[in-house]
């Protein structure tokens, strides 16, 4: 609730004004920063609980993309003979599954975060943005673990990591922002319409086939490439493949378009989330 503003007074105490909602975009960066420790604790809680509740813990983070990679290599590679830019199929698929698995999980987790934390939302104040933000960030640990697996695979296939690898953080950031932008929309929608979370698995599935996970984006006809670029994950995934395995051309134009789209999703997501934020405690 960002319109509650803080400003130090003469006596040094912060002054809080509680008013009806005003404006349609009022992100209080300062306040969000004040709560950065809480965001850290939310992330920490998510990770702790996830690993405590699953018997195999962190192994799951490796197993999931690894098995999917095997499946894709067999079905799309061996059986369907989809071109892999000259890369071994496991590398071709794993490098795309890295950001994709992260994105899919972040989307699912952020969708339900408001509803799952409804006891908090109705009992204590904190910037509600902290919830989707932390659920998007907590997936990074799994990402890190499965990334180590990827490095091991690169050694196995004797493929050298190039300088382009330094670009991975940029593409990862783009993936985080995409997940956050869409996650903001979905979490706010799900707080009001509870069946949204049933739609998300389908959304994720459709989205995967609209992204170059199972195939290279070069298969998409040139005249449709611009439309393809509107899917920010297309840029992210091609970016990952290029920077990690380094065979295709750098996806420059795709990235520019993707970044612009992500920015639009993110800004509209924040605006929508904040519009809903004012009523969330009344409906969840």
């Amino acid at each position: 609730m960002a319109a509650a503003s803080h400003a130090p007074t003469v006596d040094g105490l912060p002054v809080l004004r509680i008013t009806p909602r005003e404006g349609w975009f009022a992100l209080d960066y300062h306040e969000l920063w004040e709560y950065h420790e809480l965001i850290y604790f939310f992330v920490w809680r998510d990770i702790k609980i996830r690993y405590k509740q699953t018997a195999i813990g962190a192994v799951w983070a490796v197993l999931q993309p690894f098995l999917t990679m095997l499946l894709f290599s067999i079905v799309f590679g061996r059986l369907a003979h989809i071109p892999s830019q000259g890369l071994p199929y496991p590398i071709f698929y794993y490098s795309a599954l890295l950001p994709w698995m992260y994105f899919a999980a972040a989307l699912q987790n952020s969708t339900t975060t408001i509803v799952e934390n409804q006891r908090l939302v109705t009992k204590v104040y904190f910037p509600r943005l902290a919830l989707p933000l932390s659920s998007v960030l907590s997936g990074l640990v799994d990402f890190g673990i499965s990334f180590l697996m990827f490095i091991a695979m690169m050694f196995y296939y004797r493929i050298h990591l190039g300088w382009a690898m330094l670009m991975v953080p940029v593409f990862l950031l783009l993936a985080i922002l995409t997940a956050l932008g869409v996650g903001l929309w979905l979490s706010a929608l799900n707080a009001i319409y509870r069946d949204v979370r049933y739609v998300v698995p389908f959304l994720v599935q459709f989205w995967m086939f609209a992204s170059p996970v199972a195939y290279p984006s070069s298969l998409v006809p040139a005249k449709w490439q611009w439309l393809y670029g509107l899917n920010p994950m297309a840029g992210v995934i091609e970016g990952f493949r290029w920077s990690l395995a380094g065979r295709s051309r750098p996806p420059g134009r795709l990235i520019v378009v993707s970044s612009a789209v992500v920015l639009a999703i993110l800004l509209s997501g924040v605006a929508y989330f904040q519009k809903m934020e004012t009523t969330i405690a009344d409906v969840v």
């Binding site: 909602r21 104040y125 739609v199």
Partner: protein, 424 residues
């Protein structure tokens, strides 16, 4: 542990200023979420009923509420259920937004609307202290600094690294309150949280609250228990039907509130009988200590006495008794019939093998009728405070109305079969 804050600020300076505050809910919207299919049906019905343009019904939970609170004041907020106390607290705590008006608060606000906010059963006691502390607004460093104090207040030193789900509910409550008690905001908003737990625990919490009040912190405190309000709050604001009905010295406001309740203000549609024929005078739990006549601290046998004075005899008397919880749900009711009573003071006693109800505030309602004429009906004040040990599930959402000290045991299926066979 509550460091003194600078006494520079004068008492006259309001730290909380509330001006024309109002909150409107759409009827049915409150505590209800939608499904996408609702949206579709709604769109469909509105297509059919184009001309029947119905404006949605609104309900003002709170309207035109204005008051100031000076630095260091401890203000009690009282009123019937649904009067708007909790809405006011939620607005000040920024959990929900006002529809109109504004409030200005000088200083950090800590709100304690529930004991154990943010606790997670899978995490250990230690982890939960940090998590809950952070959620309530403490910095990590601050929690680390007070950690030992919190743990010793809660008396859970030995179980710090045990997951919370293995704690008894009493231990969980102590730990939760300990965390909350170590908050150091300038302004503290507290809702009914002290109505939980056994008497020992309630006392400890009240003592702590008293300490907090003495250090010059500003507190707004909602409670149904008039004795708590009386002990803690010099000033009381009475909220009724979404507006302030009375605001002033505790003594005056409580007297006004209790006499309004006494006059049958609380019971919808039912008025007290013409007091000339009969009048309920007071009630108490038999055998309780004189300073705790209305506190039930046992799950064992209990007898409740109601004093009634009759001005005329009854031939075909009917005495009704009912017990309600704080949400005004009927817990139990009974009627004694065909009573022939002489004028004078009588004591009606009801004995129970046990009253296994969840700790909290409850209210008795007693009535006396003669040949279907109501002689008196009384919503008994003070309310009954059940402060027994909690025997409940460790998760809040699985806490039921009953509070039964059930035992659990288990044995192998084969043993049961053998046992059964040996009985044949």
């Amino acid at each position: 542990m509550w460091c003194e804050i600078d006494a520079v600020q004068t008492m006259s300076e309001p730290v909380i200023q509330v001006e024309g505050l109002g909150k409107r809910y759409r009827v049915g919207e409150r505590e209800r979420y939608l499904a996408l299919r609702d949206l579709l049906t709604r769109a469909f019905t509105s297509l059919l009923k184009r001309n029947g343009k119905r404006s949605p019904d609104f309900l003002w939970a709170l309207r035109e509420v204005s008051f100031d609170v000076a630095q260091g004041e401890v203000v009690g907020l009282i009123g019937r259920n649904g009067a708007g106390k909790s809405t006011l607290l939620k607005l000040l705590a920024r959990i929900t937004r006002p529809t109109e008006g504004w409030a200005e608060i000088h200083g950090r606000v800590g709100s304690l609307l529930e004991v154990g906010t943010g606790f997670h059963p899978e995490l250990t006691g230690r982890e939960n202290v940090y998590l809950s502390g952070a959620i309530l607004g403490m910095k990590k460093q601050e929690i680390s600094r007070k950690f030992d104090e919190i743990v010793s207040f809660a008396e859970v030193e030995r179980f710090l690294d045990t997951p919370l789900k293995h704690y008894s509910s009493g231990m969980q409550m102590r730990l939760a309150f300990a965390v909350a008690a170590h908050l150091e905001p300038e302004i503290l908003l507290v809702d009914e949280v002290l109505a939980v737990g056994d008497l020992q625990f309630q006392k400890k919490c009240m003592g702590k609250m008293g300490d907090v009040a003495k250090t010059g912190r500003t507190i707004i405190f909602v409670s149904h228990q008039m004795n708590q309000i009386r002990r803690l709050c010099p000033r009381v604001v009475w909220i009724d039907a979404g507006a302030i009905r009375m605001d002033g010295a505790a003594h005056d406001v409580l007297a006004g509130y209790e006499s309004a309740m006494f006059a049958g203000d609380g019971a919808k549609g039912l008025q007290r009988g013409a007091a000339t024929k009969a009048r309920f005078l007071r009630w108490e739990i038999a055998g309780s200590r004189p300073d705790q006549l209305h506190v039930l601290s046992t799950t064992g046998p209990v007898t409740v006495n109601f004093w009634v004075e009759l001005a005329q005899p009854t031939r075909n008397g009917d005495h009704g008794v009912a017990l309600f919880n704080a949400e005004r749900q009927l817990m139990w009711a009974h009627a004694a019939q065909n009573l022939g009573l002489n004028p004078g003071v009588h004591v009606f006693s009801h004995s129970f093998p046990t009253l296994p109800l969840r700790p909290g505030a409850y209210q008795w309602q007693v009535s006396l009728w003669d040949n279907s004429e109501m002689l008196d009906l009384w919503d008994c004040l003070p309310e009954m405070n059940i402060a027994t040990e909690v025997h409940q599930h460790y998760m809040d959402q699985w806490n039921g109305v009953l509070n039964i000290p059930a035992k659990f045991s288990h044995q192998h299926g084969e043993e049961v079969a053998i046992e059964r066979a040996s009985h044949i």
